[in-house]
Symmetry: C2
Subunit: 580 residues, 2 copies
């Protein structure tokens, strides 16, 4: 655990969280970590295969991506329970990024995936060392939610073709959906049967199995964990059936030969023009992966009063992706479902991740022949079930009530992701949310204030029955002043002066001004000058410390026609004794 | 004058400020407007010629651009004294924009200039009707200052070649300067003599003539106004000398034949691909012109306790540019120097603009033959003197003391404008200032607060000797919460929890939170959930009205583990009675 402040100017030093937990490693911790690792391994095997397929890669690549990354995360990660590996959204983004450069399934495609993992890892590592984790904050919650929901829909749609045994293509949801509809008459009946049966089984495992197990006397947590092994059961049963009945001869597509062995040593392509075109996708994959991973990590850490260090997470995820790149993998990040399972199964330390990596390694050494007869439709079904839990439209209702700009940002993200693609969706989402935020702060709330009778408090004259005087105008500014809104202040004061003929003093109540920049200072000077030309004094009240420090460094306070008052009440009391 | 609120959602209606002043027009107003118009006309003739030349256009185009725009502004403008016409920076931007499409001096070049005025006019009008004037606010004062200083340097450098009678070219300051140095041996002696003598004379008029006139007994204001006629004297004298001594035969470049007559009726090119490539330049010209014009207009209006309506200004400037487009002109805006002269000379109403337009019209009908012998070097000298007053490096010192991000934005704008060009300079300036602003707000100031003994006030524990208790953590957030900084709050609370083992309550003091969005709300919910998991209650204090309204529209307050207190003191008093 690293409790250093995470400012970008803090000097970075190599932090090895492994030292914190490995030193005092105990036998009972070993037990709970081992049990958790076993459950996560069983869950991770089908996921690894399925997400590799989703990314357009051979299934063994999914296994390779679940060994080295886990080991590296265990050494460098600041979360005790995060489980890294291939995840749905990042796999979808990987497919979108590589699709432009190579044909899915080819050797070239795999090499580009390795290069993408390398670039993404290098970026994450660099962002961690430079402490640029805050950059991820510009992906707002609503944009992420809209993006993940849209990605879930896109992934589900892309798997339907495998599930139904048809050929369908499309770069976005609309194309994909249209292509699927056109292919409906050509559905391969047996494939569809396997696919839909797996789907139904997996949905039932999610919703119906746990209550059944509980009724059968199992403790709730054990029932929950057992239910997570549903996918492995589906895989085992359908592979066995296919082997027994030789369904592949009737046209059911199977996984086929999966090479047995250790993850290979691989190198990314050293091709600058490829790097250049992968730069934006790699950045987006890094940021999305990081945001997903950190939010899972934070949620789980807080449950045990631990904390994670976002910049250290960048380093750990960066190393994990570099590890994936050099061992034949593809971009990875911390997964939500598997981390929760790891946590619930009682994992205490990242040693659970080391054991999981060992389990996956064993699988890739010995289990792969057993995957020969596994129908692709079963894998597609596990993906559909996993991603449909990502789809959540409640964000629309939520943002509609809380904030219309957020609603518009989600809508823009969702529609662009579905209609154009994942990268465009993210870029538009961030752009729209920033633009709307800037728009909002560029029109700050300002209120003319008056004294609440019998108190020293001032309130908006339009909302409350308050005392005012024609000589003195009190104006409260409810926003930090910066270039985008300083002219709004000028306009407001100009219009107030034009509508208050007898005015002698303007007092700006600055209690809500947290910061002020050079433009705002220029505007204040211009306001003061113009008021002065019109025979009116400008005063300030309740100026915050940091803002006052800044004003003191300039000539503003010397040239100011009026005074700076500690409280607005003092100002009014002195300028209009009749009121105060 | 239009005192309507200028929100973007206010319905636009045609506003004719002319009705306000024309109805009660008086004889003595006529006199003062007439005198002002005469002085502005004398000043505007050389400026119009010179700025047309700067824009790469024939001199008469400058006169054309100073008739219709003035008339239209008089009808629609909300400033009483603003004088529109060709100005230096906009002319430079015009030259930069057209240079890519046609050869300076050609008929095609002029047509593109007309099209640019048309597009810029249409944009301004549209922005006015849609009340989008606030968009200009994203050009911060420092960026504008850096841009105008760089433009002044660029313009001065571009005029040196005409002043010295050499050929020099370059798309930016560096190229231009290098080319000029290489050409120094080829200076045309007589041209340089005329140019440098005019330059010296004009500088002397600026600084030496006025005191002399005052000593000679003239009132200060009259001396000031008389000094403004310096350029016309320089033009008259050098033209006369050239005619008398036939300098053009010795290689001094003269203006030559300027067609006599009314401004022609012209049409923009209806060429969509040209429009597309002129879109960004036209937008930048519109915004820069608008910002310059509005700041002049506001400064002058305030001196007489009037005000101008920025959205109405957009409409008026839009109409002026459309007027320029249909009468053979080029992009125009309100000029600083000429508006100040107009104001100082006593102009009371926009009728002064109408009279000025009449004066320029007479000049284009009768005066143009007299311009035949005018040396181009003299015009170049008037430009150099005019633009060097734009160059102001004090913005560097000023922003350095007030705000380093502003300093970086100015520096980026200046260097990019000089090194790359005007359009790149503006775009980079806006980009850098927005990025730095977002960066700053993404890392809000947060302080752990404690009670100042004997009061009800809370202050930063790191700066003051205050009372705290291990059970209750008070945290003041000095920024509105939005997506870019909400995770910073999560980090801060997480780290506080990890470092305060006995903690039972966290109270967020929200007095400086002016706004909250859906991401921030999610973060608050996540914080509450995590604190709850760790057995800690989250409370809020001093929540502002608008923020409270927003919280009430969600389930947040129902699920919140703690309470919302009116004051932070009440919170601490209740949660830790020993301290309060």
């Amino acid at each position: 655990m690293n409790a250093a402040p995470s400012g970008p100017l803090t000097r970075w030093r190599l932090s090895l969280p492994v030292l914190a937990w490995a030193r005092g490693y105990q036998r009972d911790t070993l037990m709970s970590d081992g049990v958790a690792a076993l459950i996560v391994t069983v869950m991770l095997i089908p996921q690894s295969l399925a997400y590799a397929m989703l990314a357009g890669l051979p299934p063994e690549v999914g296994l390779y991506a679940s060994v080295a990354p886990l080991l590296l995360y265990a050494v460098l990660g600041s979360s005790r329970v995060l489980a890294v590996g291939p995840v749905a959204v990042v796999s979808l983004m990987t497919a979108a990024a590589i699709g432009e450069h190579a044909v899915a399934g080819s050797q070239a495609y795999w090499t580009v995936a390795i290069t993408l993992a390398f670039l993404s890892g290098a970026m994450l590592l660099l962002m961690g060392v430079l402490r640029l984790g805050f950059l991820a904050n510009f992906l707002s919650h609503p944009v992420i939610s809209g993006f993940i929901t849209a990605s879930g829909l896109l992934i589900a749609a892309s798997q339907l073709k495998t599930l139904l045994g048809v050929k369908a293509e499309g770069h976005n949801f609309v194309e994909l959906f249209r292509s699927l509809l056109a292919q409906l008459p050509h559905v391969h009946a047996l494939t569809a049967l396997v696919g839909l049966a797996s789907l139904a089984f997996l949905f039932w495992v999610r919703s119906g199995l746990k209550p059944l197990l509980v009724r059968a006397g199992l403790p709730a947590r054990a029932a929950d964990l057992l239910a997570k092994t549903g996918p492995i059961a589906a895989i085992g049963v359908t592979a066995l059936l296919t082997w027994a009945l030789q369904w592949q001869q009737q046209g059911v597509k199977i996984v086929g030969t999966v090479p047995q062995g250790l993850p290979p040593f691989t190198l990314p392509l050293w091709d600058l023009s490829l790097w250049q075109s992968l730069l934006v996708p790699a950045l987006l994959i890094s940021v999305v992966g990081f945001v997903e991973s950190v939010s899972v990590g934070q949620t789980l850490a807080a449950k045990r009063r631990q904390r994670i260090d976002p910049d250290q997470e960048l380093v750990a995820l960066g190393a994990s992706n570099l590890g994936a790149a050099f061992t034949g993998g593809f971009p990875v990040t911390g997964g939500f479902a598997r981390s929760v399972v790891n946590f619930d199964a009682g994992a205490q330390t990242p040693a659970a991740g080391v054991f999981t990596a060992g389990g996956i390694l064993l699988a890739s050494l010995f289990l792969t022949p057993a995957l020969f007869y596994l129908p692709q439709a079963t894998l597609a079904a596990t993906i559909v079930v996993a991603v449909l839990s990502l789809v959540d439209f409640s964000i629309f209702r939520k943002t509609w009530t809380v904030s219309k700009p957020d609603f518009m940002a989600v809508l823009a993200t969702l529609l662009t992701t579905l209609g154009v693609g994942v990268e465009a969706g993210l870029v538009v989402g961030v752009g729209v949310s920033l633009a709307l935020h800037l728009f909002r702060t560029s029109r700050p709330h300002m209120a003319e204030v008056g004294l609440v009778p019998g108190t020293q408090h001032f309130r908006n004259v339009e909302r409350h029955a308050v005392l005012t005087t024609p000589d003195v105008l009190g104006l409260r500014v409810d926003e930090s002043l910066y270039f985008a809104n300083s002219r709004a202040l000028e306009d407001r004061v100009n219009s107030a002066v034009a509508t208050h003929p007898g005015l002698k003093h303007v007092v700006l109540q600055c209690s809500a001004i947290n910061d002020i920049d050079a433009s705002a200072l220029e505007s204040l000077e211009a306001i003061d000058r113009r008021l002065h030309d019109a025979g009116i004094c400008l005063h300030l009240s309740e100026v915050k410390g940091p803002v006052m420090d800044r004003l003191k460094r300039t000539h503003f306070l010397q040239t100011l026609s009026g005074k700076v008052f500690l409280s607005h009440y003092q100002a009014v009391h002195e300028l209009a004794p009749g009121v105060g």
